[in-house]
Symmetry: none
Subunit: 229 residues, 2 copies
DNA sequence: GGAAACTGTTACGTTTGCGTAACAAATCCA
DNA sequence: TGGATTTGTTACGCAAACGTAACAGTTTCC
C-alpha cells in the first residue's frame, strides 16, 4: 500500500513546516502550497488523499478554496482556524470541510484528527509506527514506551522529546531542533529546560542513568538516540 | 467468495420490490427493512456488504440511521434521495454515505452505481458489531454491555462514551474527540464533564475503579481503552 | 404527580508536570 | 594550567491536570 498524500495549504511558513514535519514523521507524503491558487492547481493535479487548509490566505481565502475544491473533488478537508472564531468553524463545515483544528494546536491532537478523518473517509490510514531501538520501543498509537518489556510512564513533554529523538534514531539532533519540535518554535533558542528533561528521560529509560547508552550527548551539537551495541 | 449481501431500507414497498428485483437479478443476496430500527438491527446482525438507504423514513430518519451505522460499521452506503433536494445529498455524504441516487431512477444507472461503490470499497474486513476488549464486550446492535458475562446497565451518555473508546480500542483518544463524539461538536472544547463520566464508567465496568485496567488515563492527552496483555 | 434516573456544574484536594535557579562536574580552548 | 563554556544534577515553587463528591435541574417512567 502506498503512502497517503496530504496537501497542506498555509501562508505562514512556520505552520507549513510544522505540519509537514508532523505528517512526514507519521509516514505521510506531503506537498504544500502557500496560497489558494497553487492549492487548487495542486489539488487538481496531484489528487491528494487529504487537504489541510488554512482559512486566512492571501488572495482567494480558504472558504473560496473549499467551495471550488468541492466542485470537482470530495477529498477530505481539515481546516485550520484561529482560536475562538466560532463562526469560522461553522461556515467551514457548511462549505464541505470535514473537521477543523484551531491554531495553535498540539501535534498530538492534530495527528489524531488527521487519522480520524482518514478513517472516516475509508482512506486506509497508515499504521502508526512502533519505533524500536535496542530494547527500547515506542508505540505511537498507545503512546506507550517500554524498555526491555517493562513499561515506563513518561510525561507528555518527556514523550515528545523521546519521540523526536526516536524519529531520528542513529543521527544527531541539534538542540535547537529538539527544542523546536518538542516545545514549539518559540523555544528554539535560549531554553535551559532541555537538559533537565534529558536528565529525566535518562532516569526513566537508561539502565544506568549516569552512563547513558541510549541518549548520548554530542557536545556542542545536540543529542542522539543510539542503538546500543 | 459467496454472494455479496445487500441491505435495502425503504418504507415504500414499491421501491423495496424494485430494488430487490434488480439486485437479485444481478446475483446479489438481499435483505430488506422498512424502517430505521429494523435497518440498524439487521445491519448489526447480518453484516451486509452494502446498504441502500432511503432518507425519508418513518421514525428515525436516514440521516440518523447513517450516523448510528457509522458508529460500528464502515459498510458502504448508497442513499436514496428525492429529486432536486441538493442539500440532502451533501448532508448525507457528510454523515458517511458513499454515494447517492435520486428517485426515480433508471435500473441500469442504479446498478452501475452499486457496482461502482462495491468496487471502490474493497473492504479488508468488516468491523464486527460486537467489540470485545478483554472480559468487556459491547454489543452495538442491542446497546448491551457485559463485563465477564455480567450485564451492566449504562446511561445513554455513558454508553456513547464507552463506544467511542471501544471503536478506538488500543489507541489513545484525545479529550476533544471524545467530547465531540459523545456530546456533539459544541462540546469540543472546555468541557469539564468528561472526567465525571469517565469516573462513572469506571465505577461500572472496572473491577477496582481506583486502579482502572480498561480505561486508562493518558495525562495531558486523553484516555485509552486498553486491550489487556 | 411523584420517584427514580440522568445530566451538567461546581468545588476542592491531590497529584503531576513544568520551568527556573543554583550549583557541581566535565569539557574546551588559549 | 586556568578560566570560560558547556553539560549534568538537584531542589523548589507555581500551574495545570486529574479524581472525586456533592448538588441541582431535567428528563423519564410508573
Amino acid at each position: 500500500m502506498s503512502k497517503a498524500l496530504v496537501l497542506v495549504v498555509d501562508d505562514e511558513p512556520r505552520y507549513l513546516k510544522l505540519v509537514r514535519y508532523n505528517l512526514e514523521t507519521a509516514g505521510y507524503e506531503v506537498v504544500t502550497a502557500p496560497n489558494g491558487e497553487e492549492a487548487l492547481s495542486l489539488a487538481a493535479g496531484q489528487n491528494p488523499d487529504l487537504i489541510i487548509l488554512d482559512i486566512r490566505l492571501p488572495g482567494i481565502d480558504g472558504y473560496e478554496v473549499c467551495t471550488r475544491l468541492r466542485e470537482f473533488s470530495s477529498v477530505p478537508i481539515i481546516m485550520l482556524t484561529a482560536k475562538g472564531e466560532e463562526q469560522e468553524k461553522v461556515q467551514g463545515l457548511r462549505l464541505g470541510a470535514d473537521d477543523y483544528v484551531t491554531k495553535p494546536f498540539a501535534a498530538d491532537e492534530f495527528m489524531a484528527r488527521v487519522e480520524a478523518v482518514l478513517r472516516r473517509s475509508h482512506i486506509p490510514e497508515l499504521n502508526p509506527p512502533i519505533h524500536t531501538v535496542g530494547a527500547l520501543s515506542i508505540d505511537c498509537a498507545q503512546r506507550k514506551v517500554t524498555v526491555g518489556g517493562r513499561e515506563v510512564s513518561l510525561s507528555p513533554t518527556e514523550y515528545r522529546l523521546l519521540q523526536c529523538l526516536a524519529v531520528n534514531a542513529g543521527r544527531v539532533v541539534v538542540q535547537e531542533e529538539l527544542q523546536e519540535k518538542a516545545w514549539g518554535p518559540e523555544y528554539r533558542e535560549h531554553y535551559e529546560g532541555l537538559r533537565v528533561f534529558i536528565r529525566r528521560l535518562r532516569q526513566k529509560i537508561e539502565k544506568d542513568p549516569e552512563h547513558p547508552t541510549y541518549i548520548i550527548t554530542k557536545p556542542g551539537i545536540g543529542y542522539m538516540l543510539a542503538t546500543p551495541a
